[in-house]
Amino acid sequence: MRALLYFLLTTAALGQPTEQSAVATATATVSPALDEAGFEVSLTLPVTTTVEQAAALLADLGIRQQHLYSASTSGSPSFVSIPSLNAPPSMAFRFRFSLPAARYRETLERLDAFSRRPPDGASAFQYQAVLAPSSQAFDAAQLPALGGLIQQTRERAAMAGRAAGFDAGPVLSVSAFPRVITPLLALGIFQPLQVSLTARFGSAPGPRFVATACTREVSISADSATLRVTLQAPATAARAEVLEAAGRFGLDAPALTDVTWSIPGFGVQPAIFPPLVVAPDMIYHFERTLPVSQLRAALDRVLEMQRTRPAPLRNVTFAAGLHASDAAFDQALTAGAPGVVAACRAGAEAIASAAGVRIGGILSVSSQSQAVAGFIVPAGRVTDPLPVYSVLQLPVSLNAVFRLE
């Protein structure tokens, strides 16, 4: 009883909770099997070519419409871009797909043969390929490492606890966020694959958990298109005149998003150099989002406008690209999410098993889904429209936290 009173007195005097915890991290390099071949293929064709037509040209290579990664008049984030002001307008169709590793060399040879005889109308053909571990191979390789990592964190936490004068105690939480690089994400990247695990040991109150993250790629249907058009006209031209000319080619007033000014021949913003020398032109920026089935007709009209250049227009430029509507994007995420959660649970179970504990229900899930890096904006004239962002395959990532039982 005296001891209890002393303990209570001491605790009250300290005025501090008694929980203490030690946290340690351990990392291992794993060598998964190179069991998957990832390919990215870009074919540049006349701008009014449809996805169906582009895919048909590549059918002998095993490429299908559902492999479409992007379609845009802009350059590409991963390929060499060779712009030409005088080149006819074109659309770059990029496809991404993966095959078993055994078909890597055979497919490369077919890609090389294709590049020697590009189809009529093609202005460029580019490809990248990589042999890398699939996410399943990565998972299989990291499993044996988990036990060792847990043991290392336990030893390090015990050591740190001893240095601080307390016993680390049982595991409170484990967090492992594997750096997943699927073959399609690994194009051109050679880095050792690492598994890093952080574990917390001690007597602190609160939920005990395993936190992990997982990523799977999903494809989204290209059901929408964006068309951006810039019209250059003398500043002396009335806006109504320009709108009337644009309207004849399907660009009505609601599509007008901005009007800026430019000095012909100067690649700088006129706000910096006011128009003291020459009269400025006005740049009318139009943007339309339309169903993908209507893009070809819309492009035909813009090309006609470019060809005829009705007064008072001095110049017509445009950019176009396919993308997913919000509804298609949400649908793809919703369809992909259960598979990603299941992958997270499998990963968390493996981690928990290595730590000698069991996981229960999910405490939290947070989405990290985001498109991969966008286009590198090519250097352009002031009058050029902004490139249209077009990405139709994206990684779905989830952070999931599971309660420890």
């Binding site: 300290l14 005025g15 501090q16 909770p17 008694t18 929980e19 203490q20 915890s21 030690a22 946290v23 340690a24 991290t25 351990a26 990392t27 390099t29 060598s31 190179l34 390929f79 060499v80 060779i82 890597y104 490369l108 040879e109 890609l111 090389d112 590049s115 020697r116 590009p118 093609a122 202005s123 460029a124 053909f125 580019q126 490809y127 990248q128 390929a129 990589v130 042999l131 890398a132 030893e155 390090r156 936490a157 050591m159 740190a160 606890g161 001893r162 240095a163 601080a164 004068g165 307390f166 690994a186 194009l187 051109g188 050679f190 050792p192 001690g202 602190a204």
Partner: protein, 202 residues
Amino acid sequence: MLRFLLFATWIAAASAQTADQSIAATALRTVSLPAESAVLELRASTPAATTLAQVLEVLAGTGLKEEHLSGVSASGFVVSAGPQFQGQRGDLTYAFRMTAAAAGFRDLITRLDEARQKLGENVRQLDYNLYLTASAAAVQQAREAALPLLFEEAKAKAESLARAAGVRLGPVLSVTEAGGDSFGDARGARVTFTLFVRFGRQ
């Protein structure tokens, strides 16, 4: 460096969450250790037709084998240049990663340079990165010796902070250990240990 920044960010976040209840301090130190292993990361750029066996033939003597292959990539392009197409076709890059005994470090460099001298038609270019690491046992021993010193250093810093803040340092709430990855060059391996300690206040 990236790992340290991540750790620092994590610590900053952790500190921010508990700033009204605790005093935290970090201590770190780098120690030199005898090198046990040499890690070789190598890339071979080749024409499209070159096989893995042909690359390994050029690398004979370096100890690299098929099991050390860590990745393969290829790229090629053609663009229209008037009626003709021009471009670069089918380059391949083979990537390898191998761990060898540190004692053979200089010999390995010699062998790699020899391989570079006899590339032939099948291999266009060799690039490599070679570094030394200490054994896990040596790192663990160094950790055991370093942690009490790091704790005392962190405690001293925390006490200074507490004095500056006009409060008294309380008991240890948590300790977080990070680092311990060894790296090095011809002079040997080095390991940096970091300890983040959070104290309560009285």
